[in-house]
Every structure is written in C-alpha cells, then in structure tokens.
C-alpha cells in the first residue's frame, strides 16, 4: 500500500514561498493498493490537486470510481468538494462516507455547503457524476474494495471526529487527525486501539508543545501526543500531519527534528508530493 499526501495543512490553506516544501493545501490523503484500489481521506483544498491528476485517467472519460472517507465536516476537510473536477463529469461514481455530525446529518451538512448562497452548484443533485453520501456509526467496520477499515470516534474540542484504521496489502495505516486527548500522554482507548501495531500513524500535530499551553481545549494535539501514542502503540512510522497554518517549512523541520530526538520510531513531517511505500 502507498500513501500520498495531497494536503497536510490544518485549518487554513497557506500560500507563499515559506510553505512550498510541506505544502499549504488543507487535508487530503490518498491510499493506493498494489492491486490499484484507491481511497481518499478528506476533501480539503489538497483534493482539488488530486482531482486535476485524476482527469488524465479514466475519470476524465467518466469511467472513474472512488470512495472518499471524511474524518469530519470542518471546512478545512471539505472545502475542496465544490471544486473536485471529476464530480462534474457524468459517469464517474463516488461514494462519500462519513459519520453524521452531532445534531445534524452528513448529507444535510454537505447540502448546506453547496446551498445557493454559498455556491453556484445549488446542491449535490447538480453534480453530474454519481455521488452517494453514506453514513456509518463510529465504531463500525467497513469493507471497501481491498480496504478493511475500522472506525472510531475520537475527541475534537467540543465535538468529535472519526479516526480510521485502514488495512490493505497486509499493511495498516492509521489516521487520527483533528484530535485532542484528555492529556497529550493519555490517548483515548479507541485511539489507542486504532493505532496499535500500525505500520504508519498519521497524527494531528497542529501545535508545538510550547504553543499547546495556549491552545488547550481547541481540539488539536501537540506534537508530543503523536510521539507518545506512536511509542505506546508500537507503530512502524509516525507522520506528523495537520500542520499549523503559521508553521513555515523551517518551523516544521524543527518540529520533526525535536520529535525525532524523543523516539526511535522514524518520524516524518507529512508533505505534499511523493507516494510513500507503507
């Protein structure tokens, strides 16, 4: 299984030359199996770049199929949806899978994003491709093509998001983004279970440990939370993800270096661009 980060930034897309190496696009991660099955996680602005790359494949002819998992519906995880070009090509088939946000529905939330005030698309029904919105309860298991997926709710400030443990090609990738545990060194039981023995753990690293003191309760992790969980759960590799919009390339370099000095597990700063073999 390969992983490619199309968007690694948290909260806000950042443009400019200080953000070129890690990238300024918001959350979007692609997984590809050896057999060619694809899965996309989140539709931040990074998804618009992925969309462009898809247009030269079967998606350009309206013959593409792609499942998309959503961690949650904060804008930085869905803002690429109205601009995902293969959605405008008849014949393409998409499944968007996510949990209902507390007190509302996934479909209603995405419809609201495309409501006429906000978007000239005026609703999901005007996307030319087939786009089905499917919900699951966090905690359930999903089988999608070659991917076996375990889901769980993890705390995110006053709400929660869905964490994923994704197995394919005998490898496991765990995605825990937009997550804040009761304390950085006390991951929830569900988060620990998703990460246990994973080959790669992709973890929220929005704050450096000093900045976290000011940001407690806002729903994101300091770098040390991912480092701690990676060690406790015995993962193969840790990818720091959901970088702060204020973190320049140089700042992320320092963050990764500091994290690496505290663990023997290989640590990388998630960066847009290359495919990584898990």
């Amino acid at each position: 299984m390969k992983v490619r980060f199309w968007g690694v930034r948290g909260s806000f897309a950042m443009c400019g030359k200080e953000f070129l190496r890690y990238g300024g696009n918001t959350s979007s991660v692609e997984l590809v199996t050896e057999g060619g099955s694809r899965l996309l996680i989140d539709l931040g602005t990074g998804a618009t770049e992925y969309a462009k790359s898809l247009m030269s494949s079967e998606f350009g002819q309206g013959l593409g199929r792609l499942p998309v998992l959503l961690t949650h519906t904060h804008l930085d995880h869905i803002q690429g949806l109205p601009f995902f070009t293969p959605f405008f090509i008849k014949g393409n088939q998409f499944r968007i899978l996510g949990a209902d946000p507390a007190g509302s529905s996934l479909k209603g939330t995405l419809q609201n994003q495309l409501a006429p005030h906000y978007s000239p698309l005026n609703g999901l029904e005007n996307l030319a491709a087939g786009v089905s919105i499917e919900t699951f309860l966090p905690g359930s298991e999903l089988a999608i093509d070659e991917f076996e997926i375990t889901t769980a709710a993890v705390p995110h400030g006053t709400m929660w998001t869905t964490g994923f443990r994704i197995k394919a090609d005998d490898k496991v990738v765990t995605v825990l983004t937009d997550v804040e545990y009761p304390a950085p060194h006390r991951p929830t039981r569900e988060a620990f279970a998703l990460a246990a023995g994973a080959d790669m753990l992709i973890h929220d690293a929005m704050h450096d440990d000093a900045a976290y003191a000011m940001a407690r309760g806002w729903g994101h992790s300091p770098v040390s939370a991912g480092v701690h969980l990676a060690g406790a759960a015995g993962v193969g590799k840790l990818a720091l993800f959901h970088h702060s919009p204020d973190a320049t390339d140089a700042a992320i370099d320092r963050l990764v270096e500091a994290a690496q000095s505290r663990t023997a597990i290989p640590v990388m700063g998630a960066a847009e661009g290359a495919y990584h073999e898990v």
Binding site: L75, F83, N112, Q113, P116, H117, P120
Partner: protein
C-alpha cells in the same frame, strides 16, 4: 487613499509553486483613507492575514471594522471566521451585504460558523458583530468614505461598490458576468438559457447602471476570472474576461483597471502573459491596466495628481 490587495484569487485558495508571485488567497481588498478610516471589501481567505496585521497594529486599542461583502460565495466569506479582531472583546465588526430573498444575512453568515463547519459558533465570537443590508443604488457613508452599491450579474445576486474619499475614487466590481449572454437569477444554470425580452431589458438596465456608477472613477477593480477562450466554454459561471471589463470602463473616464479574481488554474507565468497582453490592449483605449497580485498597495491621489 491606499488600496491593499490581501487576496486576488477566485473560487478557492491555491497554494504552491505556481502562485508564489501573484498569490493564492481569495478575494479581499482593504481601502484606507487619508484619515485612517478603513473599508474591507470581501472576506475571502486573504482576510486572515489582514486581520493579523490589524490586530498587531492596533495593540490594545479597540476598533470598529467595516466589511463590505459583494456576495456570500465561499471564496468571499471563508476568511471571516479567521479574522483576528473578531476574537477581541470590545471590537466591533460591521458586515454589509445584499439581503437575498431566501434568507436573513445573519443566518447565512451564522451558517458558516456552525459547528459542522467551524469550531467557534458566531454567538461565541467575543467581538460585537452587526449586520447591515445593502441596497443597490442607495448611497451609504462609512466614516469619511461615501459608498455607492450597485447590482452585478452573478448567481444568487452580487453587488459592487464605488468608494469616494480624499477627492478620489475606487470601485470594486466582483463577481460579475457580462451583460449580454446570461441573466443570473436564483437557480442553478447547467448551461446557457434563452434570454427573454424582459431578461434583455434587466441586463441592459444593470449594465447602464454599472457604467453610470463607474463614470469618472479613478481605479476600477474588476472580476476578470476568465480569458476569452475560457469564457466561451463557461459563459454561465458568472465571471468576466479582461476584454469585457475594458468594454465597460473604456470611454467612461476611468483612469485605471485592475484585473482581479484570477482563475485558480492560472499560474504566475500565465498571469505574466495576461498582464502584458492587457496592458497593451488597455493602452490602446486609454486605460492603464494593472494585474492585481497579493500584497500590492496602490496609492490613489486626488484625481489628476497621481
């Protein structure tokens, strides 16, 4: 009067190597008069950096900020929840927008800060936020700036603004389609529709009111999202070309046209070509054409002195 461009991109923010020079953030322009009064045009993602600067500059001084919205498509409001002065108790943010038929403005703005989209709900924002309805054709005064709103041709309605202060003027015309092929109303357009006689009359009136509002304006910022060949494929998307903008301002006593709301697909190198091409075309009709880039500051002196 100083005009600062904080976001010049249309549709969605575009990070990466291709947008380093012209900028990737979406619609946001700040107009500051000589007295220090400031009017913010649109609250796209460019608003975040402007908010950081305002919060830094003001120190402990509380302030009143005026944000004029052209319309509430995401690329014009997405920066609002990230506007730092909103998180300082005692600040006031006045938001002006067209009241659309279907909903109350506050609900629409409140909608973007629902917890499904953003962690802080509008009610929990510490600054005082007031909403004002804008009526095309009805002048308003904000501190020492005279503001004239006018209607534009864009899905679900959009409004432009002319700002007169310090003996000079600037106009903001974004987003808008031209006024000949499509009349945007409040429904989804999968392509071109046949225009009725009534549609043509409405379009003609809208164009005439726009031309009149822009007459004698020093600097006009215009939605020039498309190149002509792109417009030909997407005439129903609600955006114009630089040629269509020139058609409105040429011969209308406008000194300077600013190309704005760049398509997300236009890289810096393409933007250089667009800038050169329309500099020349503008010169041929007596209009100084400048292509907006993020961070650009234009000083507009009294008419005839700058």
């Amino acid at each position: 009067m100083d005009i600062t461009f904080w976001g010049v991109r249309g549709s969605y923010p575009v990070p990466g190597r291709g947008t380093v020079r012209y900028g990737g953030q979406t619609s946001c322009v700040e107009v500051r008069t000589a007295s220090g009064a400031s009017v913010i045009l649109d609250a796209g993602t460019g608003l975040r950096a402007l908010g950081q600067k305002l919060a830094r500059d003001s120190g402990a001084t509380l302030g009143r900020h005026h944000i004029l919205l052209s319309h509430v498509h995401w690329d014009h409001i997405q920066g609002l929840p990230f506007f730092e002065p909103m998180y300082i108790t005692g600040n006031t943010v006045e938001v002006y927008a067209l009241l659309t038929a279907a909903d109350e403005l506050q609900q629409v703005i409140g909608g973007i800060t629902r917890h499904e989209f953003f962690p802080v709900p509008l009610e929990a924002v510490p600054a005082e936020i007031n909403f004002h309805e804008v009526d095309p054709g009805l002048p308003m005064t904000i501190e020492d700036a005279q503001i004239l709103p006018f209607a534009l041709n864009h899905p679900f309605g959009s409004v432009g603004y002319r700002i007169d202060a310090d003996g000079t003027s600037v106009a903001y015309v974004s987003d808008t389609a031209p006024f000949n092929q499509v009349l945007h109303k409040q429904h989804f357009l999968p392509g071109l529709e046949t225009l009725t006689d009534e549609d043509r009359r409405v379009l003609g009136d809208m164009r005439a009111a726009l031309v009149k509002s822009l007459h004698g304006c020093d600097t006009v910022i215009y939605d020039t999202h498309f190149l002509p060949e792109e417009y030909a494929r997407f005439p129903h998307y609600g955006h114009s070309t630089p040629d269509q903008a020139l058609d409105i301002v040429a011969g209308n006593d406008v000194r300077r046209l600013i190309l704005y709301h760049h398509a997300p697909s236009h890289t810096d190198d393409q933007m250089d070509e667009i800038a050169a091409r329309y500099k020349e075309q503008g010169a041929a009709v007596g209009v100084d054409v400048i292509t907006a880039c993020e961070g650009m500051v234009l000083s507009v002196g009294p008419r005839g002195t700058s």
